[in-house]
């Protein structure tokens, strides 16, 4: 039937595990993107190693969120190459295929499904077949239910599990989104400003969680809160005017004269 076509099974791409024999899971090479003459990304090169935790910092408009948009397929770059592992060309896939291939994203502004409950938000995010017919006849397995419970526990929303997500506080929505990210079990997590609107205690827990995820997953964090970055970062990339200005450990970055001039200099001065 007609609808059968629409309920596409997993695409061939998804069954291919990203080839990380060179230790790199995400290749972003020579990416250019401009909006009406404004160069949002300018010959940008970035390599994320398998299992690493990387922080991206940079002033507003440096291209951090745009870079995430490009990796997750929301925006197509004008030129350049974006690969997942050695062999998966992300520019050939759309957002949902990229997500299913194993790249998860948490947005700057927390976006959850407001009319669904916390439980259902996580249920929808669980790794698995996202086709139509599965959705129609799907029954939660005990294993999956346990997994949801586990995640709810991790993000501290057990009590609110039947709450409609739209009623959560800003911080709780942040947690819920992290929970949705966990449920998808991605290889790469792109996390955009995770601690905005969180209390100091929550920030600490987030830092803990993200560091614990690294290793098994690769984590890319965009954050303005320098204290937070300092607390989690092993390697930091500085973006400036659409390209990578410097890369290294936090202390290396802080010593880098270019960075001091264009970024840290501004903040501290």
């Amino acid at each position: 039937m007609t609808a059968n076509k629409a309920g596409s099974p997993l695409t061939a791409h998804e069954n291919i595990v990203p080839d990380t024999r060179h230790g790199v899971i995400l290749y972003v090479e020579d990416v250019n993107l401009s909006f009406d003459g404004f160069k949002a990304l300018n010959n940008l090169n970035l390599y994320i190693n398998d299992g690493e935790l990387r922080c991206l910092i940079g002033a507003n408009g440096a291209g951090k969120t745009t870079l995430m948009d490009v990796i997750t397929g929301k925006i197509r770059p004008d030129t350049g190459k974006v690969n997942f592992g050695q062999q998966i060309d992300l520019l050939q896939l759309d957002e949902s295929e990229i997500a299913r291939a194993g790249i998860g994203r948490k947005f700057q502004k927390p976006t959850v499904f407001e009319e669904l409950s916390v439980f259902e938000n996580i249920e929808l995010s669980l790794k698995g077949d996202k086709g139509i017919w599965t959705a129609l006849f799907h029954k939660l397995s005990g294993e999956q239910e346990d997994r949801i419970g586990e995640i709810l526990h991790t993000i501290g929303l057990v009590a609110e599990c039947h709450y409609p997500a739209g009623r959560l506080s800003h911080g709780q929505k942040q947690w819920l989104e992290i929970g949705m990210l966990l449920a998808a079990e991605p290889r790469v997590l792109l996390v955009d400003e995770p601690v905005a609107g969180m209390t100091g205690q929550e920030t600490e827990r987030t830092a803990e969680l993200l560091t614990s995820l690294a290793g098994e997953h690769s984590v890319v964090v965009v954050e303005h809160d320098m204290a937070f970055v300092r607390s989690i970062a092993r390697k930091v990339s500085v973006l400036h005017q659409g390209s990578v200005l410097a890369e290294g450990t936090m202390s290396e970055i802080q010593a880098n004269p270019d960075v001091i001039r264009v970024y840290l200099g501004e903040e501290q001065g």
Partner: protein, 385 residues
Amino acid sequence: MNTSINQDINQNNQQQSLFRSRDPLHLTIGLLFITTILVTIGNLIFAESSAFHVSDYTVSLLGKYLCYALLALAVDLVWGYCGILSLGHGAFFTLGGYAMGMYLMRQIGDRGVYGNPDLPDFMVFLNWTELPWFWAGSNSVIWMVCMVFLGPGLLAFIFGSLAFRSRVSGVYLSIMTQAMTYALMLAFFRNEMGFGGNNGLTDFKEIFGFSLQSPSTKLGLFIATAIALALAYCACHFIVKSKMGRVVTAIRDSESRVRFVGYKPEHYKVWIFVVSAMLAGLAGALYVPQVGIINPGEFSPLNSIEMVIWVAVGGRNSLYGAIIGAIIVSYAKTRFTAIMPEAWLFALGGLFVLVTLLLPKGIAGLLPSIKQKFANTADSVEAKS
């Protein structure tokens, strides 16, 4: 501490039931069943003089309303649950109607004005000598049943694939669906289309060998419509309650977020659009034998808009609300057009404005809040004592 959490959860549950109206499957089906039985008894057993008698006219009218209710269910499925405001569902309804109409047309046989056993009257009138290719097979019941679903389904599939794949949504999509039904109306008005042009298909004699004029056939059609509505309601209920329903609701809330979770919203939208179109086609097919005519006027954008107002009045995001809305608005229309025809469009127009401004959740949204009020007063009474 512990008790306060428990209280929280309790409160949650209460709020949740307020927040998302539940679909009382058994209640709705039960009511439908009882109504059907009562009408049947009233029509068959009680004499015309009795106060309990249900006239043939009323049976036909109720049958028509149930068709509308089925149609409203289809509109609700895409609009209420998936956020696709279709202003072109009349097209699917009418296509289903034409599929049935073609079959009924062929059943006339040589009893038409021109007495041609193979060709419907309007073709003889146009001096056509043979059936156009797309009429081939139209005298078979199986063909008819297939076309009732396939015609609207295919149109919805083609239109939906194109629109949803290129991510046309919101108001744009609504206007394009309206353009679609408008274009179909213009096309079907042409005699060359081979669907009877202006006059459409009419003068039907019988269905499956039963005379369409006889009261028992009318009652039979009414019962068939009630059964179809009940089945459709169950199907919709199943869809809405499944994980599919949750994905679709998520798409309504934030389509792009659904994509980042790994679903392909366009596939879900096409699927639900096609299912809805087929339901609309079924409604059209049941409608035609009960009113005895199908013509291109049914494609008019105004009709499609009226369907939307049924759902808006009854309450989208609730299946039974769609049914209530369709029946109440259609009944009002029947009354209004009988008493003062001019006032109907004023009333309909006013309804659009008032419902969107004052009653965004419709009647179905009203019920839980009334319940809540009662509960609140009970609570306060309890608290006082």
